[in-house]
Structures are given as structure tokens and as C-alpha cells.
């Protein structure tokens, strides 16, 4: 029988199927963090249960941490207590924690892959919707709620219905000045923010094969923005080369054996999908969003569409609501639109490759001093590498001090928030109303677009700024 990649991993982890009901899916790796776990630990204890597999659970502090002076006690009391509660719960249940000050601390979806904990063929969950990131390694990885966090802490299993399956083939070569962020923003504009609902997406094709692991992670990361349960990519030589030698990757004979298994992880030629799309990205332009959901995006050199160019009436109404919130007009161009803030960070775009792209544009230049710029590495390891490669020195010379690792201004819950009414160009994943802070107005774009715009203080097409 011909199986998809998803089918193969699913079948390897199915403990049992409840007649007429869901499957019981075994979870190889459970990541937890301070925000979505406290209620789960409390409820677990109320049931008189312990964490079943602390060895398959890893905690990080990332959402609710400052990104400056992390060696000092957290100023805000509720945040300090929430992070302390995570420490307490981990200690009580024997769960490893990468807390503030730990050399491996960072955003959970950056830490898992870079340490080699995330491995092909795994099932991975976390109480965070961007868990889909790990799918870039050929895993079934998806975000869950707190009740489900408790479920996995208690049993190492999830009750799951198999989702529908979609394949998106991407052909062609990514043009200069474009990144995989532009690809996923393009897909979002094409398929909408609910185009993937009920589905798990496999990304395939020449363009995906030519992408680095960092680029693939950005694509899989934003699968959830399409409404999909997750996204995944078949592991290949690029994946194995990235994995080899990482701290928790298998070594020696164990590596050879694992590798043989990983090499069987692909969709069979005859495998059937519920829905298939194909796009050529050879003529892609850098993308930017203008609205309040990630599907409301355009090419950077195109005007904001008018209501009558949209599919239907409800979309038109939503379009107007979004433009009202953003204080923008249909038909206007965003090119050269003045900005107040720039955020370079998040689980979408704060890996070493993203920072290298920024440094390439900033080298020998100064950023606009009127902008407030938050540049936040995805993990402490990324920060250390940025220092080592001299990127941090380039940032500093350009006028920006790199901050410390965390989710930062992506989600408006820690100290880093975008000011009310301010326009922020952000490399993160969500432009929802108030997402980056009450009244904040977000434009989503790639790190290259963010870097070029940081120099000019206005929304800037990076194609003229990228050095060959």
C-alpha cells in the first residue's frame, strides 16, 4: 500500500485505535514552557498523578521572560512567579529545564532543532501552536492546549483523529532578495488563513529541496497560520547534514542505524492526498502583510487591494475592518511607508541564518536612529554564535544592541511590547489586532525586508540592498 510520510509516522506511533473513535498516538517528545503548563501540572497533581516520562519531556522558559538583563530577577511580579512555578514543577517531577541563564535556553522551537532533540520520524507536541516548526525535520509535530499538555504529561499519549492530508509542491528557484518567509506569506495570501483547516500539509518540490533547514523551519512554522494542524517535509541529505554532530543527535553506530530508518521517511510515489496544490516561485517578490491576519498580504511593490478585488462580501467587510485598524487605505502602496518600530525575532525568523541576512545588509551602514528596533536571537546558542561570527559587532556598529533570547515582542506578554498605534515591521508570524501589544499595528515580512527597512526607516524592498 502506498503511504504518505504522515501515514508512515502515524502508523509507527499508533498504540491503539478506539473502535469508532480516535487513535491513541504515542508522543516521542513533549516540550513545555511556563505559560501553557502551570494549569496542567496543577490538574495532574489534583488527579494524584506524576509525569509519566520526564525523560521525554523538556521545559524551557521563553514566552514570559525579559530579553535584557536576564541575570537579574524578573521585575514584573506575575511573570517572575510564573517562571518560578515552572522551575518548581520541573523540580518536583524530574523534568529537565532550560531556564534563564542556562546555555541552551531559548525559544522552544529554536532549541529543539538546534540541540538535535528534534529528530526525523518523531511525534512532537508542545502547548504552543508554532510546534509545527519541527515538521521541517520530517516529524508529526503540532500545537496543543493545556488539557492536552496534561494528557501527555499523564500518559505520554494523545487522543487523535487522523487529519486530512494536503500536499503543496513548490517549484522554481527562489529569486534574489526573497526568502522562505516570502514563500509562506505568498501561500497564505493564496490559500487564506483558514485554507489549511483540518489538514496536515506536506511541502515538497524542487524549491523545498533547495532550502536550508532554517528556511524549511520558517515554512513549517507558519503552517498553523494557514489553519493547518501542522506541516512537514521529508528528511533528506540537507536534514541529515544539519543533524550530524548536534549535541543530542545519535552518534557512531547508533547514527548509522537511525539514519537507515530516516531514509525511509518519504511519501510513496503512489500516495494519495486529499488536496494538492502546485506553485512556481521563480517570479516571487518580497511579501508584506497589510491587514490583521497573515493571509492579508501583498507583494511589496503592489498596492493594497480594493474590496471589489476580493472573493466575496464577508472577506470585503473583514478587509475594511483590518484597514481601519491599521489606518491604511485600499489602493495605496506600502512602499516607503514610514515605520515606528522593527522587530527581528521569534520562532519564525530568529535563527543564525536570519541574523546573517540582517548583518549582510547592515554591514557598514547605520540604522535609522528614529526607529525603535528590537533584535532578539532565537536562543542563547544563536546569540553565542552571532557573537562568534562577528554579527553582533556588525549590529552594534549599525546602532543596534542584540538582546537576549526569548519570544520577546512577538506576542505582547513580556516587557517587549510595540507601542499603541505604532507601526512595527516584524519578522514574526502574527499581525492580529493587539498581538504585539494593545493597539499595535504589525506588518509581517522577511528578515531581509526588516533589515533594509531599518536603514531607511520606511518599508523598503530588499532586492536593491542584497549584495551578490
Amino acid at each position: 500500500m502506498a503511504d504518505t510520510l504522515y501515514d508512515k509516522i502515524w502508523n509507527q506511533h499508533l498504540v491503539k485505535t478506539i473502535p469508532e473513535g480516535p487513535g491513541v498516538l504515542y508522543i516521542d517528545q513533549h516540550f513545555i514552557h511556563e505559560v501553557s503548563s502551570p494549569q496542567a501540572f496543577r490538574s495532574l497533581e489534583e488527579r494524584g498523578q506524576r509525569v509519566r516520562r520526564p525523560d521525554r519531556t523538556l521545559a524551557v522558559a521563553d514566552h514570559n521572560v525579559p530579553t535584557w538583563n536576564q541575570h537579574l530577577p524578573i521585575k514584573e511580579e506575575m511573570s517572575r512567579k510564573q517562571v518560578a512555578l515552572l522551575e518548581e514543577n520541573c523540580k518536583k517531577h524530574g523534568v529537565m529545564l532550560y531556564g534563564l541563564g542556562h546555555p541552551l535556553q531559548g525559544i522552544v522551537h529554536v532549541v529543539g532543532p538546534e540541540t538535535g532533540i528534534t529528530q526525523p520520524g518523531m511525534t512532537i507536541v508542545c502547548g504552543d501552536s508554532h510546534t509545527s516548526t519541527h515538521g521541517a525535520f520530517g516529524t508529526i509535530a503540532f500545537g496543543i492546549g493545556t488539557s492536552e499538555v496534561e494528557m501527555v504529561l499523564a500518559s505520554q499519549c494523545m487522543m487523535q483523529y487522523k487529519p486530512k492530508q494536503m500536499r503543496i509542491r513548490l517549484d522554481g528557484k527562489l529569486p534574489k532578495g526573497c526568502t522562505s518567509k516570502d514563500v509562506i506569506l505568498f501561500l497564505l495570501a493564496k490559500l487564506t488563513a483558514s485554507g489549511g483547516t483540518g489538514h496536515f500539509i506536506e511541502y515538497a518540490g524542487e524549491a523545498i529541496q533547495n532550502m536550508s533547514m532554517e528556511e524549511r523551519m520558517t515554512i513549517c512554522n507558519m503552517s498553523i497560520e494557514l489553519g493547518a494542524r501542522g506541516g512537514l517535509i521529508a528528511p533528506d541529505e540537507t536534514t541529515f547534514a544539519y543533524m550530524k554532530g548536534r549535541q543530542f543527535a545519535p552518534k557512531g553506530l547508533a547514527w548509522d542505524e537511525k539514519l537507515r530508518g530516516w531514509q525511509t521517511l518519504f511519501s510513496d510515489a503512489e500516495a494519495q492526498f486529499d488536496l494538492e496544490y502546485q506553485f512556481d516561485i521563480s517570479n516571487l517578490s518580497p511579501r508584506i502583510t497589510f491587514g490583521t491576519n497573515p493571509g492579508q498580504g501583498i507583494a511589496i511593490d503592489q498596492p493594497i487591494p480594493k474590496a471589489d478585488q476580493l472573493n466575496n462580501e464577508t472577506d470585503a467587510e473583514q478587509h475594511q475592518q483590518a484597514l481601519d485598524y491599521m489606518d491604511l487605505r485600499a489602493g495605496m502602496s506600502l512602499s516607503d511607508f514610514p515605520l515606528d518600530e522593527i522587530f527581528i525575532g521569534s520562532c519564525t525568523n530568529a535563527r543564525i541564518e536570519d541574523l546573517r541576512q540582517v548583518a549582510q545588509i547592515w554591514k557598514g551602514r547605520k540604522v535609522d536612529p528614529n526607529l525603535r528596533i528590537n533584535l532578539v536571537p532565537g536562543s542563547s546558542q544563536v546569540a553565542a554564535q552571532a557573537e562568534e561570527e562577528g554579527l553582533a559587532a556588525i549590529f552594534s556598529a549599525a546602532g543596534v544592541q542584540m538582546r537576549q533570547a526569548g519570544c520577546s515582542a512577538c506576542l505582547g506578554m513580556n516587557e517587549d511590547k510595540v507601542r499603541k498605534g505604532a507601526y512595527c515591521l516584524s519578522t514574526s508570524n502574527r499581525n492580529f489586532e493587539g498581538r504585539q501589544g494593545p493597539g499595535a499595528r504589525t506588518f509581517l515580512a522577511s528578515p531581509m525586508t526588516a533589515a533594509a527597512s531599518a536603514i531607511t526607516g520606511k518599508i523598503t524592498d530588499p532586492r536593491d540592498w542584497v549584495r551578490d
Binding site: 501553557s36 506575575m78 483558514s194
Partner: protein, 196 residues
């Protein structure tokens, strides 16, 4: 978990599509480490102005006693997986949400807390939005129907989830009961060396 079956009440119209969980429960309040009493933070940035005064234009501020039913636009609950979005809606008094579609994680979170989410076609939702404010809607989970004074529609729900909601059962109890089966499966797979 509390069982749910029949609900008969007025409802609140939330005529907005793509209501994401950041709007339902703004990030600032994720610092709260409990799940009780979160209703006061639901839709906070829409319900209150910058001085913390209620914004009388917003529909949730127009009720003294909150009806048990919320009727919203498509792709309700998109974005972040925060279960706080479900806890705060439950705490406000909602037992049922009707919309043309829901985001997947939100739907699971709702089921896990005994909050019934019902998908009806856009035309039915629009019909509810058009009715007078004192109209009554009747919901039967057992019969899988939604009825008003002028129409009755049936809705689909997964048979297993329906059973859990009707009986107030939760998945965790089930999984704890099969702990030994899970352990045998782990062993059968050859232990951790062969597992991922």
C-alpha cells in the same frame, strides 16, 4: 468535566470573522497561572478603553446576564493554542458557540472543557444574526439540532466527542486507564532504543 446536552437561551451576536485567540484573551493576561475567573479578561481590548472603562459599543458589554450561546463568524479561535480563550468564555457563562467554522486547536480545547462548538452554514449564522435580540435558540446535542422559531438545522459532530460531552468524560481518564497497554506497547516496540 461537566456534561452538556440541552441548552435553551437567547444568544450574543459577534459579527466578526477570524476572531483569533489573541483577541479573545490578550497576551498580557497569559501571565495568570490559573484557569479560574478569567471571564473578566475575555476580549479585554475590545471591552475596555485605555482607562479601563467599559466600551458600550461592544456587544459583550450590552448584557447584564450573559446568555449561554455565542454566535460568531468563520474561523473562530484561530492562532495561538492558549486554552485561556476557552476558559474565559466558559467563565463568562457561554456553554455553546455557533460559527460557520472553527480553528482546529480551539475546537479541541473547547471539547476538552465541555464547551460545545457547533458549525452551521454561513446562511444559518446570518439568519441568527438577523433575529431580534430576545429570540430563543434551542440546542440538543443528543439530537444534534439547533432550532429557532423559524427553522431547525442539524449539525455534525464526531460520535466519540459527542459521547464524551454528553457524559462529561475526559480523555485523560481514558488514557490513565490504559496505562498498562501503553507500557506494553513501549516494550513491544523494543524499548527506548528502538523508539524515537
Amino acid at each position: 468535566m461537566q456534561a452538556i446536552n440541552k441548552i435553551k437561551d437567547t444568544w450574543v451576536n459577534l459579527k466578526i470573522d477570524q476572531v483569533d485567540t489573541d483577541q479573545i484573551f490578550p497576551g498580557e493576561f497569559l501571565k495568570i497561572s490559573t484557569k479560574e475567573g478569567l471571564g473578566k479578561y475575555a476580549f479585554y481590548d475590545r471591552r475596555y478603553d485605555e482607562n479601563g472603562e467599559p466600551n458600550s459599543d461592544f456587544v459583550l458589554n450590552q448584557y447584564e446576564k450573559m446568555p449561554q450561546v455565542l454566535v460568531a463568524g468563520k474561523n473562530f479561535g484561530s492562532g495561538s493554542s492558549r486554552e485561556h480563550a476557552v476558559w474565559c468564555l466558559k467563565d463568562l457563562g457561554f456553554s455553546v458557540i455557533i460559527a460557520p467554522s472553527f480553528a482546529d486547536i480551539f475546537k479541541n480545547n473547547a471539547y476538552n472543557n465541555g464547551l460545545l462548538v457547533i458549525e452551521l452554514p454561513q446562511s444559518r449564522v446570518a439568519s441568527l444574526w438577523g433575529k431580534p435580540q430576545d429570540s430563543i435558540v434551542s440546542i440538543s446535542l443528543a439530537d444534534q439540532t439547533v432550532s429557532t422559531d423559524s427553522w431547525k438545522a442539524s449539525f455534525a459532530i464526531n460520535a466519540y466527542k459527542k459521547e464524551c460531552l454528553l457524559k462529561g468524560l475526559d480523555d485523560i481518564d481514558y488514557l490513565l486507564n490504559i496505562a498498562s497497554e501503553i507500557a506494553s506497547w513501549e516494550k513491544e516496540k523494543g524499548g527506548d532504543d528502538n523508539l524515537n
